[in-house]
């Protein structure tokens, strides 16, 4: 089919899905079928676009000119293609998981949940394929607004507070910093199009470049650079499927994706390397990386620990961009994919544990591994991938990031990457270790889903739809390790 048509379809499919979900809200089975069919169709669309991009095609389309010089434009390049593949592929898995989780927990207002989810995915597609900063900004805001009802889903006071922090920080940074940065770029460069090699060379005084970069980096609140990271832990009040797909994949990756886009296509790696405008960012990202890992160590709530782990992992990518070397940028881009697979596994496992036992604190999870072996096995695989051990995909992106640091001559950054990997071990492995090796404190209260299971000692897993998806993504970590050259081949054109 015509690639331009497919490009539009990536936006329209999830939106049409959202509409259908809203219309079928009174019939849950049909509604979930709509979600699944939409996600599969979207993945197929993205897949056929991927073939086109791999063959060297660069589909583009201008949807509408909003005001003179500002147009809503879509254009595909490898980085966006990767992000779209990750988001749309994992949406299928996560939709299965959502069904298991939302029904297993008997959550209310599921129609709103699925509608907002589909709109959020449409926004993520828009971000992935945005042809200029203006379009990207529009979808960036749309993503924030469409995920707000998901964060506030439970409608408790805690959820409202979390959602306020979420909205306040994301809207605040984007309107307060990102918008002026974009307007500054517009005034200086006269264009907002993403252009290979950047658009700012010779347009902005090199002395001011670090400030413009700072406006961008802190403006992209979704990248969770400290001190604007608080929204991510706050968003953990959302149901776990939201945390899994949006706050481990779509939303946060939209943030770091935007960071990479800005670094590669607005500033240009060479310009940053020549002027050293991103040197301060190396420091800030390194600090976030280590500090968030340390905070994660102190968290007993499993989802909070994972959230801080995400903050830390996002900074890997920002740091890769800040290095302004080919390998650094490439590593950052690869880390979008590998971390997504690993982290969504971990979150889905945390949700499965919650559905089966209603436990949220790690200290209460002693001995659970023997009851939920599949969940815990998937968790272990995801954790090892995040730590970066072969034969799991996570090792590759860390490898490239490390090479990027060496290229930049910053051995200290290599050391930081290594230290952080050790911290990953320290905060992820105990979860698994407690699950398998500690004795369970008391007989587990029987939850609704596991009522029919044999008495203590037997396997009491969460519903199948909660357990299968994390196992699938864990297997994905393994498969991706062996087929990583395909991803690298996709991203090759990104760097000279």
């Amino acid at each position: 089919m015509n690639p331009t048509f497919l490009l539009g379809a990536t936006l329209l499919l999830p939106l049409a899905g959202a509409l259908l979900i809203a219309l079928t809200g009174s019939r849950p089975n049909l509604r979930e079928a709509v979600t699944l069919v939409t996600s599969v169709l979207l993945a197929c669309t993205v897949w056929s676009l991927l073939q086109d991009v791999l063959a060297g095609g660069r589909p583009a389309a201008i949807l509408n000119e909003v005001a003179p010089g500002l147009s809503l434009a879509l254009a595909i390049e490898p980085l966006g293609m990767l992000f779209a593949c990750v988001a749309s592929g994992l949406w299928i898995v996560n939709s299965l998981y959502s069904i298991g989780y939302m029904r297993g927990n008997g959550e209310r207002r599921q129609t709103r949940f699925y509608v907002c989810f589909a709109i959020a995915i449409a926004s993520a597609m828009g971000i992935a394929f945005a042809g200029n900063l203006f379009t990207l900004f529009i979808f960036y805001e749309m993503l924030t607004l469409s995920t707000y009802p998901l964060v506030a889903h439970k409608e408790t006071d805690e959820a409202k507070r979390g959602a306020r922090v979420y909205l306040g920080l994301l809207i605040g940074t984007s309107i307060g910093f990102l918008m002026p940065a974009i307007i500054w770029t517009w005034i200086a460069a006269g264009t907002l199009d993403f252009t290979a090699g950047g658009i700012l060379r010779g347009k902005v005084d090199p002395v001011l470049l670090p400030f413009l970069l700072a406006l961008f980096m802190f403006g992209i609140g979704k990248a969770a650079l400290m001190p604007f990271h608080r929204w991510l832990p706050a968003a953990m009040v959302a149901p776990t499927p939201v945390s899994a797909l949006l706050h481990a994949v779509a939303v946060v990756k939209a943030g770091v994706f935007t960071v990479l886009k800005v670094v590669i296509y607005v500033f240009g790696i060479d310009l940053l390397a020549e002027t050293g405008a991103s040197q301060w960012l190396v420091g800030v990202a390194s600090f976030t990386l280590i500090a968030a890992s340390l905070v994660a160590l102190t968290k007993d709530n499993l989802k909070a620990r994972l959230a801080y782990s995400t903050v830390s992992q996002l900074s890997y990518i920002v740091l890769g961009a800040a290095l302004a070397t080919s390998y650094g940028v490439l590593g950052g881009a690869l880390h979008i994919a590998t971390h997504a697979l690993g982290k969504i596994t971990l979150f889905m496992c945390a949700g499965a544990i919650y559905v089966a036992t209603h436990k949220t604190e790690i200290s209460e999870m002693d001995g659970l591994g023997r009851r939920m072996p599949f969940t815990y096995a998937a968790f272990l695989v995801g954790a090892l991938s995040i730590i970066g051990l072969p034969p799991l995909a996570g090792v590759w992106s860390k490898w490239y990031l490390g090479m990027g640091a060496v290229d930049a001559g910053l051995w200290v950054v290599v050391a930081i990457y290594m230290a952080s990997s050790l911290l990953n071990v320290a905060y992820l492995i105990p979860v698994v270790a407690r699950g398998f090796f500690r004795p369970s404190p008391e007989p587990l209260p029987q939850s609704a889903g596991a009522a029919a299971a044999p008495a203590s000692g037997g396997i009491q897993e969460a519903p199948l739809l909660c357990v299968l998806p994390p196992c699938l993504t864990a297997a994905g970590c393994l498969v991706l390790f062996f087929h990583f050259d395909a991803v690298v081949a996709l991203l090759r054109p990104l760097v000279p």
């Binding site: 509408n64 909003v66 506030a152 918008m179």
Partner: protein, 500 residues
């Protein structure tokens, strides 16, 4: 037939004003509520069509001059329509045409039956006054229409006394402040007449450059700026506005909030840039040291005040004061970019405030109160109304794909163009603060349970459709702003005498 039409099209400028003006007494004679409503609807639609035709003619052929009774300017009264007032005419007549169909149910619910005819009479007079202020090219004529508009809007506000007697004091306050404003304006015009001997705006513009060191001209300038500042609710002269908007009937609030202050902003623009010119020393000082600080102070102070409001109508009224600050800010730049942003925001703000107040009118009809607690749980009970409110609120905040975003974009661009970073900062900070008050309503409507036993239905279609027309206009002109930006830029260039 076509000859008659072309003859008619020659006289569009006068028809724009005369039709609603003469329709008002007819409306009064009709007496019966429903009949006078139907008549007012017809008239307001005719006015809208006229204004659109005028805008098209102006954009195609340039400025239109119309001499009343064939008396040549500057002796006779002249109507002059360029891009600036053509767009104001479209705003006023457009909002008027949207609000009248809406008013039937809303007014019937909020006013006693014997006042309906009077309400529509005052409404049409107000419309005629607003259109007259915008269209005329004669300074004294501006005052005349200003008074028609003001007197009729006092009636519109006081019509709310049946529901809440505080409307009486609100109107009294509005009356005093409004009269002071109009008097100041006419004193200024009188002083200008004293030194120039003319009242025609174009003639004034021709004569004043030679007199720019004349102290009387300076005093006249001061009176006019302060007078219009009162009329347009420039902080800190805004104190009449929150109460007037809060206690007026819903339809009147929506109409006035979207139009009357806008027309005053237009008069200010007209006098600042056409009659006087930013090249004069005293004028540049006024822009930089009076209007700019007051605009910034209004933007922040009124926004903060809005956050603390419990009554949502009053919250939006304070928000209007803040938004007027944005317009005055654009004016105070004195540049093409700034004026473009100001004119653009004039149009855009009418759309968003119109939509918001109309949505509130729906709430008023069904729930009987428009407080933060009153709307709780309404997200599910009145989904279309609250969705309209959310869309209008997002536009107010300046979320992309709404007109609010376009306004913010141009305001910030204009500030950065002059390298005034801190102003851009204040604009963005104030729009972030507006998130807080909009979200207070959103949280209450969507994340709280409705009070037990309150069963409300969705508002009737006759009210929902006008509301959604404005909401969709918010989105439409947010996605396709070529037209509005183009008109605003033409207007700004015309005002500053810059060749395109």
């Amino acid at each position: 037939m076509s000859a008659a039409l072309s003859a008619l099209s020659l006289h569009l400028p006068i028809l724009q004003v005369v039709v609603p003006l003469f329709a008002a007494p007819v409306c009064f004679l009709l007496r019966r509520g429903l009949v006078s409503w139907a008549f007012a609807t017809l008239v307001s639609w005719a006015a809208f069509v006229t204004s659109v035709l005028l805008l098209r003619a102006v954009m195609a052929d340039g400025t239109i001059h119309y001499e009343i009774g064939g008396w040549a300017a500057p002796w006779g009264i002249e109507y002059v329509i360029d891009a600036t007032n053509a767009i104001v005419l479209v705003i006023v007549a457009g909002i008027g045409a949207v609000v009248t169909p809406y008013a039937r149910v809303s007014v019937a619910a909020e006013l006693p039956a014997n006042q309906h005819g009077l309400f529509y009479t005052a409404y049409l007079l107000c419309l005629a006054g607003l259109l007259g202020v915008a269209i005329t090219g004669d300074a004294f004529n501006v005052f005349v229409f200003l008074e028609i508009m003001s007197l009729s809007s006092y009636i519109l506000v006081v019509a709310g006394a049946g529901m809440d007697r505080r409307a009486l004091t609100a109107t009294y306050n509005y009356l005093v402040m409004g009269t002071v404003g109009a008097t100041f304006f006419v004193i200024g015009v009188g002083l200008l007449y004293m030194v120039t001997g003319t009242l025609n705006i174009a003639d004034l513009a021709r004569l004043i450059p030679a007199l720019q060191d004349n102290r009387t001209v300076h005093v006249a300038f001061g009176f006019i700026v302060v007078g219009m500042g009162l009329k347009l609710a420039l902080f800190p002269l805004h104190t009449w506005l929150p109460n007037a908007y809060t206690y007026a009937p819903s339809a009147a609030t929506a109409f006035m909030a979207a139009t009357s202050t806008k027309v005053s902003v237009y008069v200010l623009i007209r006098f600042l840039f056409t009659v006087f010119a930013p090249t004069y020393g005293f004028m540049a000082l006024t822009l930089d040291y009076v209007l700019l600080p007051l605009a910034l102070a209004g933007m922040t102070a009124a926004t903060v005040a809005a956050i603390y409001q419990y009554n949502i109508k009053r919250m939006l009224a304070y928000s209007s004061v803040a938004q007027l600050g944005y317009m005055v800010l654009g004016i105070s730049y004195g540049s093409v970019e700034g004026l473009t942003a100001a004119v653009l925001h004039l149009f855009n703000h009418a759309l968003m405030k119109g939509a918001l107040f109309l949505a509130l009118g729906c709430v008023m009809l069904r729930v009987g109160t428009v407080t933060i607690d009153g709307v709780r749980g309404l997200g599910r009970q009145m989904p279309w109304t609250m969705a309209a409110f959310v869309a209008g609120g997002l536009s107010l905040i300046g979320v992309p794909l709404t007109v609010g975003f376009i306004s913010k974009w141009y305001l910030v661009t204009a500030a950065l163009d002059d390298s005034r970073w801190w102003i851009a900062g204040v604009i963005l900070a104030s729009s972030l603060l507006s998130v807080i008050y909009v979200w207070k309503v959103v949280e209450s409507a969507y994340l709280r349970e409705p009070p037990a036993g309150r069963a409300v239905r969705e508002a009737p279609l006759s009210m929902l459709i006008p509301t959604w027309v404005l909401v969709l206009a918010n989105i439409w002109f947010g996605i396709d702003a070529d037209l509005t930006v183009g008109v605003a830029r033409t207007a700004a260039m015309g005002l500053l005498g810059v060749a395109p």
